[in-house]
């Protein structure tokens, strides 16, 4: 029955809803291909790519064998806009006019490849093989991408690898261990119905673990309580039962204080502590390593512990109840248990001291400790919030103490993790070059220094030519200084989909094919399936897959025969990964099945009936016997990192607290400046997608109204955010989520999207530490003011 107004009778008879759908395009043919959206958001969604009459019309979430993992997001849904971007690069181009002037002329692939390879030959002959430098940038997680490394190896180039997130990598790798960076996670669904308390600490999963969030929500519905510890009221905090504000980058102090409370109150799971951690191991005073059988008469390699039933030092595998406290002398060797060493370390973190450092009230610290110790199973979800400060390597280390004391590890509902299953596949063997040469790796945090000094770690390394892709200028720290050095290069080549912060400065740019325009294999981010990417459409215009470009370079350089076919390469990669072989994963099977599971069902990391903790001892190593620098930095002092400790960040310490004086620099630049990972972009991918820009149109400075008013900044004013390294001009937005003293931007916009060409990346620094050579993006201080420049 049609309920209508009383107005004019329609003259055409009864309207039906069918008439409304008259105006559609009548595509004749629809095909659905399957593949993966795979940027650096690290969720990696398996998608249906709907093609009608040869054009991709939409993407949608594809079914997986376990549809709890089925996923898609606002970005992935706009894939059509990325593929058919009107600014999509069509052909190779060479610049005419100065670098950065935006004047380009199309050239043929032949001319591009000839020019590029002759330049490379010339440069390598004159300055050595490492004078050609290739940088890596996250942005296409597929196997074929890496085939280029065969030629990098063959040519002996220098290769800048992304050294971000490495504080967290270091902190976990040497304590609780992991299968691969950040993969020390229980399968997310095991939280549901098992976790009683979930702590989100230095993370914002609602934005960054976008497709894992629903598991957290389901766990809450099943009874879990959520606590979020964060310097700002993040999106995730909005769903928390408890939000705990904290001074930025003091998370380690909080964890140590909680450990002390737990020990002082004897809220300890002794079974776990004694059997699954290094607590009973005996640390030699002489060199800080564990006492082993071969230190004593009798020989053997097992670790020695004191058997509580006999009081005698015994090989640990024959002891079911070891002593965990005390100092001893065994055959003249002075030792102390790892537990006692840890207890002495955490003892410094009294409630009063820690309250001063973190600004968290003593009672709250005690309550957090009690909840964690007695309210288990507990899950701690860790992100990169503290990682982005120079002191971030100690945080996961401190968490390993909490896990060891309370047994909140290796059980359904209990784990400490970055909660991102990075389906790591080792491609090193497949990337070996037949001529036996290797490329030289350079940490991205040391790249500018190398460019400036012509030296890397004490050896000459004179970079003269660059091959870039992605957006290193937008995503590596200290942008002004980086750009200055890049502009001194003799030759710059860039490959990608469309113009960006980096491409603008190249001499030759090459159009890259999109993920759906080629066959490939994608590895999972925060799920468990290896995925086959079907080719849905031909590469647009004259674009080529990145590795195909390198086939052309290789031909010209005499290495053509080094590059295998796509199929050969993928097969070799799969064959040389024992974990995949064990699961019967081959390219042929993968093509047939679409996806194949890479990990065991219901994976519980640390399960002693499976792989246990992937550490040297097989136990949780809150005491690290032989700390190492992730990249062999000679400035690394192992003696201070056996156990975790709090020290302030390098630059971002604007207020004196806990006996640590405020950074003098804070007199000029008093504010913290976080650069938030938000759902709208993955680093600087998706920055120019129109649909997303309609909802989030421009970069902003989120600022507490109190801070803004003190600077005479009104809500919506254009502000200049600045420090000695550069500036970023954007709109100030009042946000009460910001703790006074802490400002933030939502990162991923590019220079030309700011009020004047500028970037948050101008403000960051290349300061790094010997543990992990990490990019410490948030370890900066800034000031801001109403922008008084042109147009305002």
């Amino acid at each position: 029955m049609i309920k209508g107004g009383l107005k004019l009778d329609r003259l055409f008879g009864k309207r039906n809803e069918g008439a409304i759908s008259d105006r559609t395009i009548n595509y004749t043919e629809e095909k659905i291909y399957r593949g993966a959206c795979r940027p650096n958001c690290m969720n990696v969604c398996y998608m249906n790519i709907h093609v009608k009459d040869g054009k991709i019309v939409r993407t949608s979430a594809a079914d997986l064998p376990d549809n709890r993992y089925k996923r898609i997001c606002l970005k992935g849904l706009t894939s059509v806009e990325r593929v058919y971007d009107p600014e999509r690069l069509k052909y190779p181009m060479k610049r005419i006019g100065k670098r950065g002037s935006g004047q380009w002329e199309p050239i043929s692939w032949d001319e591009a490849v000839t020019t590029i390879t002759s330049k490379w030959k010339e440069v390598q002959e004159k300055y050595g093989s490492t004078s050609l430098c290739v940088t890596s940038c996250a942005g296409n997680y597929g196997l074929l991408n890496d085939m280029r490394k065969i030629i990098y190896n063959a040519m002996g180039v220098s290769y800048v690898y992304g050294s971000s997130d490495q504080n967290t990598n270091w902190g976990f790798k040497y304590t609780t261990g992991s299968y691969a960076p950040f993969w020390q996670t229980n399968e997310p669904h095991t939280m549901v119905g098992n976790a009683k308390n979930i702590f989100i600490w230095t993370a914002n999963p609602m934005d960054s673990l976008f497709n894992t969030w629903h598991f957290i929500q389901e766990a809450i519905e099943a009874g879990a309580k959520l606590t979020v510890i964060d310097p700002m009221f993040s999106n995730s905090a909005a769903k928390a039962h408890k939000y705990i504000p904290i001074r930025p980058a003091t998370d380690t102090a909080l964890a140590m204080a909680m450990a002390k409370v737990i020990i002082d109150n004897n809220w300890i799971d002794y079974t776990f502590l004694k059997n699954r951690s290094v607590a009973p191991f005996l640390v030699k005073e002489s060199d800080g390593t564990f006492l082993r059988e071969n230190d004593l008469a009798g020989g053997g390699t097992d670790y020695i512990v004191i058997d509580s039933t006999t009081g005698k030092p015994t090989a640990c595998t024959s002891v079911s109840d070891p002593v965990i406290s005390g100092s001893f002398e065994i055959e003249g060797i002075a030792v102390k248990t790892a537990f006692t060493m840890m207890q002495e370390q955490v003892d410094k973190y009294t409630l009063e001291y820690t309250e001063e450092i973190t600004t968290i009230p003593a009672d709250t610290i005690k309550e957090l400790a009690q909840t964690y110790a007695l309210g288990g199973p507990c899950t701690i979800i860790v992100g990169f919030g503290n990682d982005r400060f120079a002191n971030g390597h100690t945080f996961p280390h401190a968490l390993s103490i909490l896990g060891a004391l309370t047994g909140n590890l290796a059980k359904p509902g209990a784990c400490i993790s970055a909660y991102n299953a990075h389906g790591y596949i080792n491609q090193n063997i497949a990337n070996e070059s037949p001529n036996g040469k290797r490329y030289t790796s350079i940490a991205s945090s040391k790249w500018i220094e190398t460019l400036e000094t012509g030296e890397y770690r004490g050896k000459p390394l004179n970079i003269k030519a660059l091959y870039l892709y992605g957006n290193p200028i937008g995503n590596y720290p200290d942008q002004n200084r980086l750009l200055k050095n890049i502009l001194e290069m003799e030759h710059i080549v860039w490959a990608g989909f469309r113009m960006n912060d980096t491409a603008r400065y190249a001499d030759i740019i090459l159009p890259a094919a999109y993920w759906f325009e080629m066959e490939d294999v994608a590895y999972p981010g925060s799920h468990v399936y290896l995925m086959y990417q079907e080719k849905a459409i031909e590469p647009m215009y004259e674009s080529k897959p990145d590795h195909e470009m390198w086939r052309l370079f290789a031909e010209k350089l005499g290495y053509g025969q080094y590059m295998p076919s796509d199929e050969e390469y993928i097969n070799k990669v799969l064959r040389t990964n024992p974990a995949l072989v064990k699961r019967g994963i081959t390219f042929e099977r993968l093509k047939k099945e679409g996806v194949m599971r890479m990990w065991d069902e219901d994976l519980i990391y640390g399960d002693e009936t499976k792989d246990g903790f992937l550490t040297n001892t097989g136990r949780v190593e809150f005491y690290i016997e032989k700390p190492v620098s992730l990249i062999g930095d000679p400035d690394f002092d192992p003696s201070i990192t056996h156990l975790p400790y709090f020290e302030p960040p390098h630059e971002a310490w604007p207020v004196s607290a806990g006996g640590y004086e405020a950074n003098e620099l804070a007199k000029k630049y008093p504010y913290y400046f976080l650069q938030l990972h938000v759902k709208w972009r993955a680093q600087t991918s998706w920055s120019y997608v129109g649909v997303l820009n309609e909802l989030e149109p421009e970069p902003v400075l989120w600022v507490n109204p109190v801070d803004a008013e003190a600077k005479g900044v009104k809500d919506g004013d254009i502000v200049r955010v600045f420090n000695d390294r550069g500036q970023c001009v954007m709109k100030a937005v009042y946000n009460n989520a910001m703790q006074p003293g802490v400002t933030a931007t939502r990162r991923g916009f590019q220079r030309d999207q700011h009020y004047i060409d500028s970037s948050y990346q101008e403000l960051t620094s290349t300061y790094t530490t010997p543990w992990a050579n990490n990019n410490c993006f948030f370890d900066v201080l800034v000031d801001f003011e109403v922008y008084k420049g042109e147009g305002n």
Partner: protein, 203 residues
């Protein structure tokens, strides 16, 4: 006869905007036009909370045409272009719409959109389900009529990352929507206006 409704779980919704974008793409919406919006319930600015640090609150509210049982828009339409169709869907017949926009003023949910000038699409070819649009007429959420005609769910229902969205026939006791509302409290928007909307929000 079916009465299609949407049920949205506000406890689960985390404002990810995926449903808004799904609608945008599936319906080939022009630049600047949104039929499904997810608004922040909090501070004055997008994605900011209300309150003072650290005592803050923020949640999200997805809003589209509420496909009211007693639609304010239908009452004021001078040509009868908009009407309550079968299955409870409030329909706009573009042929009969004269673009007077009385309906937009009448709608208390601000659910309708008007294409002022020449349509600009997001890419050169029609995306999603290939719907074409016209300027000078009012448009809005159609409960993806083009999709339900094929037995598919509306685009915004395909996969909400928060698993917060439900779709079905209120008249069918075994439908998902009835099941999920059984044990939960729910509200509808602006009930005091007497529009009797078909979107139920679980709280």
């Amino acid at each position: 006869m079916a009465h299609y409704v949407m049920v949205i779980d506000l406890a689960r919704c985390y404002g990810c905007q995926t449903c808004a974008v799904a609608c945008k793409i599936s319906n080939n919406l022009p630049k600047g036009i949104w039929w499904n919006r997810v608004i922040t319930v909090g501070g004055n600015n997008f994605e900011t909370p209300s309150g003072t640090f650290p005592n803050l609150k923020m949640s999200y509210l997805p809003i589209n045409c509420q496909h009211c049982e007693d639609p304010a828009c239908v009452k004021v339409c001078p040509t009868g272009a908009t009407f309550k169709g079968d299955n409870g869907i409030v329909v706009i017949d573009k042929d009969a719409c004269i673009g007077c926009r009385a309906c937009m003023t009448a709608c208390p949910y601000d659910a309708r959109s008007f294409n002022q000038k020449k349509i600009e699409y997001i890419v050169e070819h029609a995306v999603g389900d290939g719907i074409l649009h016209e300027h000078g007429v009012v448009e809005k959420c159609t409960f993806c009529t083009q999709r339900i005609a094929k037995g598919e769910n509306p685009a915004c229902m395909e996969l909400c990352p928060g698993r917060a969205r439900y779709w079905g026939d209120l008249e069918d006791p075994s439908s998902e929507v009835n099941k999920v509302m059984k044990d939960r409290n729910y509200v509808r928007l602006l009930e005091e206006k007497g529009t009797n909307p078909s979107i139920y929000y679980l709280i």
